[in-house]
Symmetry: C2
Subunit: 410 residues, 2 copies
Amino acid sequence: MQGPSPWVPVPENSQFPLSNLPYGSFSIETEGPGRRVGVAIGDHVIDVGAAARATGSPLSHLLEGHVVNPLMAAGPQTWNELRAAVTAWLSDTRYQDQVGPHLIPRRQVTMHLPFEVGDYVDFYSSEHHALNAGRILRPSGDPLPPSWKYLPVGYQGRAGTVAISGTPVRRPSGQVRDSLDVTPSFRPSHALDFEAELGFVVGVPSDLGHAVPLSAFEDHVFGVVILSDWSARDIQAWEYVPLGPFLGKSFLTSVSPWLVPLAALKAARTDPPPRDPPPLSYLDDADHPWALDITLEIKLNGRVISRPPFSSMYWTAAQQLAQMTSNGASLRTGDLYGSGTISGPRPDQVGSLLELSWGGSKPFQNPDGSTHTYLADGDEVVITGSAPAAGGGTLGFGEVRGRVVDPSDT
Amino acid sequence: MQGPSPWVPVPENSQFPLSNLPYGSFSIETEGPGRRVGVAIGDHVIDVGAAARATGSPLSHLLEGHVVNPLMAAGPQTWNELRAAVTAWLSDTRYQDQVGPHLIPRRQVTMHLPFEVGDYVDFYSSEHHALNAGRILRPSGDPLPPSWKYLPVGYQGRAGTVAISGTPVRRPSGQVRDSLDVTPSFRPSHALDFEAELGFVVGVPSDLGHAVPLSAFEDHVFGVVILSDWSARDIQAWEYVPLGPFLGKSFLTSVSPWLVPLAALKAARTDPPPRDPPPLSYLDDADHPWALDITLEIKLNGRVISRPPFSSMYWTAAQQLAQMTSNGASLRTGDLYGSGTISGPRPDQVGSLLELSWGGSKPFQNPDGSTHTYLADGDEVVITGSAPAAGGGTLGFGEVRGRVVDPSDT
């Protein structure tokens, strides 16, 4: 099914066809520091609040802030109404005079965090990643923790250090113990890594004490970003027993600037992998399969090193939402939860250097013949993603980009 | 040293003498739902924003919201100026005409969360508690985790479920495994517990990438609340390997309504216990000892069951702040961090039912002869605290109160 065509030129293979329409927060340097809500289309951003005012949209009051939170809080019916309106503004030439002045070339804008983060939770839901990580980090034990196949394992992360793509990745210092027979020391991490993930963003809040069932996923979750869970493996290894990762993770989590609405990912829905044992009823997703055919691409210093397939995840985002609220924990608009590192079954599908370098023990080769394990100062990681779009072609999320800087850089 | 005397009557042994002056957020039912910032004095609350306007204080703009965050962000010099001003308003009879109309009997007000929570972190810094918990939960291993004496172990908690004292404690459901040879089931927790803690609240934010040294504790931390970290031990036991506590904790954390400024706790400062091994330099607090002589009192259904001494904590809040930011993680105004369960060396000084009932295996006796392990529906827990006040006497924090309700109650 071919959808409407935009009157705005959209280059072939753009991440931002009319079937995507992701939301972001942008500013224009020449116009001062003001941040506004925008929607990406081809090589442009539409100032969607200004377009709403120009067209007399009754939804313009939701677009006057600098982040997407008011729109996200308004719920699925409103999301659909605005999506239909933006589609019309960009495809019906009768709107061209009203909307055209509010299109800005994307190269002129600076992007900011698209939403104010409530709580941040990170899951651990790729079986391939969990098996790899278990074999590397706990070689003497069962690679999968005992509860892993019964529930999506997760933990709370630090919301205040979720930042926009491009934020420098300052190498963290921390307490580490270099071997079992020495006392720990405080020094910069020698095992700085990324974890390539998707992040799901909650729009509609829920009440304390009321679990959100798997079937209500689309009523609460607004959209998806790419997420890099920067990780210091040596800090994490020393601190994480028994209360889990803390300072090995809390220094920075980067997200892509474009928040792709679930409505744009309908063509990407697919069946999750078989589960054995079958999930308990509150996690049974037979009627609500939310696996998504999204493929990430990870570049290290300009070279593709992996293409992790999100469709291989054992637990879906709908199951993660049900798990996260199963104890009655409430949701707030802006809550963000990460899928966990996405790793497929093949070595060129893993989502972390932990796996690519097998815990730092098996350096891999760079194009110039040098070898790599964890991130070196100056290294740059770029993560992009691609999903089938409605009507054909693909859509994207922008990118998560991070360059490692020495801790003494200011 | 005797300080000034208030013209407002303050009952003997009040938690709120003139030397305390804690901040809260209150509303008056008869005047609609508006929330305002108040300061407790004796049996009254002063509407501190209204008093500031009435006296022409240049700080009134910081007190116009419904929470203490703007004041907390303003920094120690402003905190001291306002504290001096409020002290003058309440002790110098020349202010009586201006300020008197803004005093409200405390029994007429409803209290709300005094601050908007940024991130919430929970530590694990009582050696007595960690030893007890280790012996109960991991009887075959070393009770203290390997890093425990080298760093304050902690984890990120859920900020969105931090709530004011009095919020019902709805028994959470979750996935639990009742024994090693059965598959897990989803059911209400049978091991609902509290953890009696103090919570420290950050006022002044810090920049990403810049650690906050131990010596800067007073430049960033505004004050202290009592905190109850409600915990479902059976949910936690099944989920917590390897990423730590999540749903066993994230359903509710309650705090006291009165945020006691650090400035009110000068007389409570005392020396921390000896540490062996000596802390690494970034945690060396020889020049900044921040142990505090605060004693909690825990009542279960009206009967005192424990009096945990905060002065026995192995790691101080200043060390916890240094640890939490040692990787460059930034602070935001409203960040809250819990001390961890406070347990002294004696059985009548422990801060959880986990310890009081030795993991549920040793029921303790109620006054009516019945026995108790974890919390039953209808149980009510009240935690109060007492610290020496400047000029003699003691001061308090109000209370954390929670009554357990059945999950089917709405």
